[in-house]
């Protein structure tokens, strides 16, 4: 049974929306961070789906790049969050307003 492209794209969109909502509304930096990862993976899923649908491997190559990038991003991002926590004793991003006017 072949899962139709439409279903996969709908799932990918759903995941992306969950990620967006998580980024915009959650306060814990780590959860925001995880939401970003969900968004990335939603995009990955769409890439893979299109790749299969068109019979073109370029999409899957992109996915590998994105996963590599995401791994690097996690390394840097988590380091920043830990460093913030050490300095401010919080990981609530509504209280981290160093860039305020």
């Amino acid at each position: 049974m072949v899962v139709p492209l439409y279903h996969i794209l709908a799932f990918s969109g759903l995941l992306f929306t969950i990620g967006v909502v998580g980024v915009l509304f959650r306060r814990n930096a780590i959860i925001v961070f995880m939401s970003v990862e969900i968004m990335l993976n939603a995009v990955n899923l769409a890439f893979v789906a299109f790749s299969r649908y068109h019979g073109n491997v370029n999409g899957q190559v992109f996915v590998f790049f994105i996963m590599t990038l995401a791994a690097a991003e996690v390394a840097v991002g988590l380091a920043i969050i830990i460093s913030l926590y050490r300095n401010l004793r919080t990981s609530d991003i509504s209280e981290i307003r160093l860039m305020k006017y």
Partner: protein, 636 residues
């Protein structure tokens, strides 16, 4: 021969540059010497050209030299070019000749003044500008000279600018001249629009045959005359000249008597072709001229400041010149211009010598009895007074009679009558000045030790006295057995003005002699009356002033013209300016500036809240942006 023309203006320019740029390293004597030498150079060159002229037949007396192209835009091509013809020859000789004597005199007069180098550089600059004015071949170059002399006049009136009243007098002269100059500029624009050229000679050639209405010529010449009125201090723009006496006295002699103020007369004579095409303007010129001559003379009879008397006398004499050109006797106007330069230059220098001797005293009431103390000054002044009064045999007689005769013979008998009355008044106030300064009881005893001026000052006086006597003999009228060489010398370059009506008649020489006799009697009457009032019965003057109470006050206060201007123009202007300052400037302009500042602060105060520092806010905005872009792409 024409190649040397540029030297006439080059010498004073060099003198100005030397004194202006490196004057501080020159001694006082060197400074005066260089300035005088520069004017001497101009004088010699122009005298040589004039002598060459006299050897030529009348129709060949024209030299032109184009130096360079000054303004070249589209069809407009203004060249710096000089034109030396009999008319500009007379002016050049007067400017450089009288100017030379006044430069030399200034060496003595300005001795010890800290600004003497500045003084001589201004004086040279003035000579340069004045020579440009008279030699100019086109109206724009003439206007350059016209404005240049105005600038020098301003600089020299306010020469002692530490005194605020003197600085203000300079500004007054400058501003009133602007009113006239605006007319000159508009006239130039009109002429260029019509003829497509600003060359004086080309316009003069094109004008008589052009198919243009009378109205155009009337408008253009009236505007030009407005410029002349400002420069030559004719009523109602005369108020600056008496105030201009704040400058050093040799400046009054050179700029405000002999040369610059006569530029208006020269302007009309130079454009005589245009003016003779506009009879309405000509009549206006004549009327304003004679009215100015008369009223200025009535003011001069009551003034106590010795220089003010001469200032009003100058205005009055300029009125005569305008009368002459207004009735169409251009050469008579130029003749009087020349003789006036001699005797009024002499009178001013003489008065300067008196002021010098009395350490700056200018009040006639504090003079008297100076005859023995200042003998040379006295004798030369006497010659000047006789000349301006029009005593037969001196220069003023010939030129004044020629004007009066020109007016009478062209059907302007009322102008003749006012002219004769003015001549009587002139004789009266000039002898009043002479008697009060040099005769009678000395009022300076105890305060001053008057002394005769050094010879560097008295020699120019003596030379000018000779010129004041002999200057008239170049224009002896035919009625007195002469051939009026001056008139015939200028004739080829001046227009022939037929007069308002075609009925202009030229009555007999017998009548001319009779009229001369009448005016001479009136003049002698004026002299006698001055003698009676100021020498025989010195108390009579106050009696008269008392009896003529109102008239005396009117004359003494110069018809309240200054006060009227103050009330009608200066005060409303000041009120307007103050209103604009306090309301428009502070409320509107400052309000707009401060308001825009406040507005920016308020707007930025509102907008900066966007930068909350919360990442999630920023992310939401990015998302919104993305959504908008998507919607746009989808719809588009």
């Amino acid at each position: 021969m024409a190649e040397t023309l540029y030297l006439i203006t080059l010498f004073p320019l060099l003198g100005f540059l030397i004194n202006g740029l490196v004057g501080r390293w020159l001694s006082e004597k060197q400074s005066g010497f260089i300035a005088s030498l520069a004017v001497l150079g101009s004088f010699l060159v122009s005298a040589q050209l004039l002598l060459a002229f006299l050897a030529l037949p009348a129709e060949e007396r024209l030299l032109t030299q184009t130096l360079f192209s000054w303004i070249h835009v589209g069809d407009l091509n203004i060249q710096v070019g000089y034109r030396f013809d009999p008319l500009s020859a007379v002016m050049t000789l007067v400017v450089s000749g009288v100017g030379l004597l006044i430069h030399i005199y200034s060496i003595g007069y300005m001795r010890g003044d800290p600004g003497v180098r500045r003084y001589f550089s201004f004086l040279n600059l003035f000579t340069f500008m004045m020579l440009n004015l008279v030699l100019a071949d086109n109206l724009v170059l003439m206007f350059l000279g016209w404005e240049g002399v105005g600038l020098c006049s301003y600089l020299l009136i306010g020469f002692w600018f530490e005194d605020e009243a003197k600085a203000r007098a300079g500004m007054k002269a400058f501003i009133i001249n602007r009113i006239g100059d605006a007319g000159f500029i508009v006239a130039m624009i009109l002429l260029y629009h019509q003829f497509g050229t600003l060359s004086i000679s080309e316009i003069a050639q094109a004008a008589p045959g052009a198919q243009i209405g009378r109205g155009f010529f009337t408008a253009a010449t009236l505007l030009m005359f407005l410029g002349a009125m400002g420069k030559s201090a004719q009523i109602p723009l005369h108020v600056w000249l008496p105030d201009a006496m704040a400058g050093p006295t040799p400046v009054s002699a050179l700029i405000h008597a002999a040369t610059m103020v006569t530029a208006g007369v020269y302007l009309i004579a130079r454009n005589s072709v245009l003016f003779s095409l506009a009879p309405a303007t000509m009549s206006t010129v004549a009327a304003i001229g004679i009215i100015t001559a008369f009223f200025a003379a009535t003011i001069a009879i009551t003034q106590n400041d010795i220089k003010k008397v001469l200032a009003y006398s100058t205005i009055s004499q300029l009125g005569y010149m305008f009368t002459a050109v207004g009735v169409g006797a251009f050469s008579a106007g130029m003749f009087h211009l020349m003789t006036h330069a001699f005797f009024k230059g002499l009178l001013f220098l003489g008065v300067g010598s008196v002021i010098h001797g009395l350490k700056g005293e200018q009040d006639l009431g504090k003079m008297g009895g100076l005859k023995e103390r200042l003998p040379t000054t006295h004798w030369t002044m006497l010659v000047g007074v006789l000349a301006i009064a029009g005593i037969p045999g001196l220069s003023g007689f010939f030129s004044k009679e020629e004007i009066l005769w020109a007016a009478f013979s062209r059907d302007f008998s009322w102008i003749w009558l006012m002219g004769v009355i003015t001549a009587g008044l002139t004789a009266f106030y000039m002898f009043r000045l002479l008697f009060r300064a040099f005769y009678g009881k000395a009022a300076w005893e105890g305060a001053h030790q008057p002394h005769e001026s050094p010879s560097v000052m008295t020699i120019p006086l003596v030379l000018l006295a000779f010129l004041s006597i002999l200057g008239g003999y170049v224009g002896i009228p035919e009625a007195l057995g002469g051939i009026n060489q001056f008139h015939h010398f200028l004739e080829p370059v001046l227009a022939v003005y037929p007069g308002v009506g075609a009925t202009a008649q030229y009555p007999s020489q017998g009548l001319e002699l009779l009229l001369m006799g009448v005016s001479t009697v009136v003049v002698l009457g004026g002299v006698y009356y001055a003698y009676r009032v100021y020498v025989q019965q010195p108390t009579l003057a106050d009696d008269l002033a008392q009896r003529l109470g109102f008239l005396h006050r009117l004359s003494f206060n110069k018809y309240f013209v200054d006060e009227a201007y103050h009330l009608l123009i200066v005060r409303p202007f000041q009120a307007l300016a103050e209103g604009l300052w306090k309301w428009f400037d502070i409320k509107v302009v400052d309000g707009a500036v401060n308001g825009s500042g406040h507005a920016i602060t308020m707007i930025s105060g509102a907008i900066r809240r966007v930068q909350s520092g919360l990442i999630q806010h920023y992310a939401s905005i990015i998302l919104l942006g993305v959504i908008f872009i998507l919607i746009y792409l989808y719809i588009g």
